[in-house]
Amino acid sequence: MPSVTDWLRGRKRQLERREPGLWVKCPDCGETLYRKDLELNLLVCARCGHHFRMPAVDRIASLIDGEFHEIAADLEPRDPLHWTDVKTYPQKLAADREKSGVIEAVVAGFGSMGGIDVGLAVMDFFFRGGTMGAVVGEKIALLFEESACRGVPAIVCTASGGARMEEGLIALMQMAKTSAALTRLQAARLPYICVLTDPTTGGVSASFAFDADIIIAEPKAVIGFAGRRVIEQTIRQRLPDDFQTAEFLIEHGHADLIVDRHQLKAQLIQLLEIILPGARRREVLA
């Protein structure tokens, strides 16, 4: 088995192949940003602080100290409904695999954060819009169960359009599966922190995301149950721009805090140190 650092490096290379452009335009302030600088700045616009959507692999690299032991890395979805719309489901999966460099919409595993052992799952919006099918549900469930088993806290970074349509009710039932697995972590009295990133909606927001002990949101991330378009069609009026943002959530009492991506790791470590004083620590290298 390759070392996990190699694994991270390998995945990074795939991502670089994916988007060869040198320059990126900030959708918020219009600034033209040099891609290398943007990546060094954790995909945050240096001018206005806009948080770009972050691939799972980059997020893991930004949070985990050194090694990351991925679990269930090779689970691949089946096509239980033999789904076809304008394309077949297997065709869509293959295209997304090529585009995103990951084989499913979540990467889960174990590592340490400031020396504290944690379970970490990160959703990847670039694969099927981060939607949850059987494999995503399985990996999240395994993360909760394994974290309970190892006696470590679990952290999940969400980015998802909801349950994956192409897997029908099987996908919807992953809301129940992940919730069931979460009860194991709760029974072990271990903390679960959820980091809501842009966007988190539907079947993911209405299941394990909002079941966390502590809910953190990234600045301006769109988070909600129903999609904006659905609401606008229902009420036949345009919604205000800040509707369903992280700031809206804080105002209405649905999240604990908004944390800038640069402070995220330190904030998670501080919270874990306070609520879990007996957490296993290791020497932090580098």
Partner: protein, 327 residues
């Protein structure tokens, strides 16, 4: 437009004519209409077979949404006893959810139901069965009470989905649904859920996690409405009929996928054509499920519930290197 209502029109006309002829022959016993009546009845039967013999997924969607389909109140009215309990203790009472304690064939139960209206006035009051966060929180309060007093939970599911509005988002629709699902996965009493009409997405699932999932024959349970699915994946709402077939949302499909446990047959033509017998059949099945669960220890019930949900969904592995869960 409801495709079942449209198809029923000819049938209802025929039945009307049979009824007229029958009352005519009672008034005029000297004139015999027996052969006419028999001919019409035969035509009626063959028309019924033609209309209802083999419903497509799309037709079942419309059957599930039929304006005359029995609502949760029809089933609740047939319980031996029922005392409705109102409110979430925080914001308001959501009339799209009916909750309370009662008895089903002598068994003490906690009842949770999603309730659509029958007419415009009731639909306004019940928000067309679309539940707000406070409705789910009323449900959550009653789930906790059920555990405290060891009342098995029975639920009735009939909603096109959770309310998609501004107030629902402001009051935390996601969190409200998430907490219901989580509570049902761990609540220490048996849970028997019944889909009686439309099981629409996460908003339905909030009351739809349990030890036994029963569906009426023509009920549907779906990740999204066929119309919504078509709009998202085909970018063409007119593909709703095709989406309905692809989504595998009928009771038969879902039993095949191992997601639901029992199907309760409906009378020919659907539940609304004989409400009384539909209600009796479902209550009988709920009672059977409660009795079967009642003889098990709650630890065993919880273990089986865990295993049931833990195993929904399949995947393939590139090799055997995967980490197994702690089950």
């Amino acid at each position: 437009m409801n495709v079942i209502v449209e198809r029923e029109k000819g049938l209802l006309e025929l039945e009307q004519r049979i009824g007229d002829l029958k009352s005519l022959s009672e008034q005029h016993p000297e004139a015999s209409f027996t052969s006419e009546i028999r001919a019409l009845e035969e035509k009626c039967a063959s028309l019924q077979r033609e209309i209802f013999g083999n419903l497509t997924a799309w037709q079942k969607v419309h059957m599930a949404r039929h304006p005359m389909r029995p609502r949760a109140t029809a089933f609740i009215a047939a319980l031996d006893e029922f005392v409705e309990l109102h409110g979430d203790r925080a914001f308001r009472d959501d009339a799209a959810v009916i909750g309370g304690v009662g008895r089903l064939g002598g068994r003490r139960v906690m009842v949770l139901a999603q309730q659509k209206g029958r007419d415009t006035k009731e639909n306004v009051r019940r928000n067309f069965g679309m539940v707000h966060p406070e409705g789910y929180r009323k449900g959550l309060r009653l789930m906790r009470m059920a555990e405290k007093f060891a009342l098995p939970i029975i639920t009735y599911i009939d909603t096109s989905g959770a309310d998609p509005g501004i107030g629902a988002e402001e009051r935390g629709q996601s969190e409200a649904i998430a907490q219901c699902i989580l509570q049902l996965t761990k609540v220490r009493v048996p849970v028997v859920a019944s889909v009686i009409g439309e099981g629409g997405s996460g908003g339905a699932l909030a009351f739809g996690v349990g030890d036994r999932i029963i569906m009426l024959e023509h009920a549907i349970f779906s990740i999204a409405s066929p119309e919504g699915c078509a709009a998202i994946l085909w970018k063409d709402a007119s593909k709703a009929e095709e989406a309905a077939a692809r989504l595998k949302l009928t009771a038969g499909d879902l039993k095949g996928l191992g997601i639901i446990d029992e199907i309760v047959a409906e009378p020919v033509g659907g539940a609304h054509r004989d409400v009384e017998s539909t209600v009796a059949s479902l209550l009988r099945e709920q009672g059977r499920a409660l009795d079967a669960l009642g003889v098990l220890s709650i630890e065993r019930v919880l273990e089986e519930r865990y295993a049931k949900y833990r195993h929904i969904g399949s995947w393939q592995e590139e090799n055997e290197r995967m980490v197994r869960g702690a089950t």
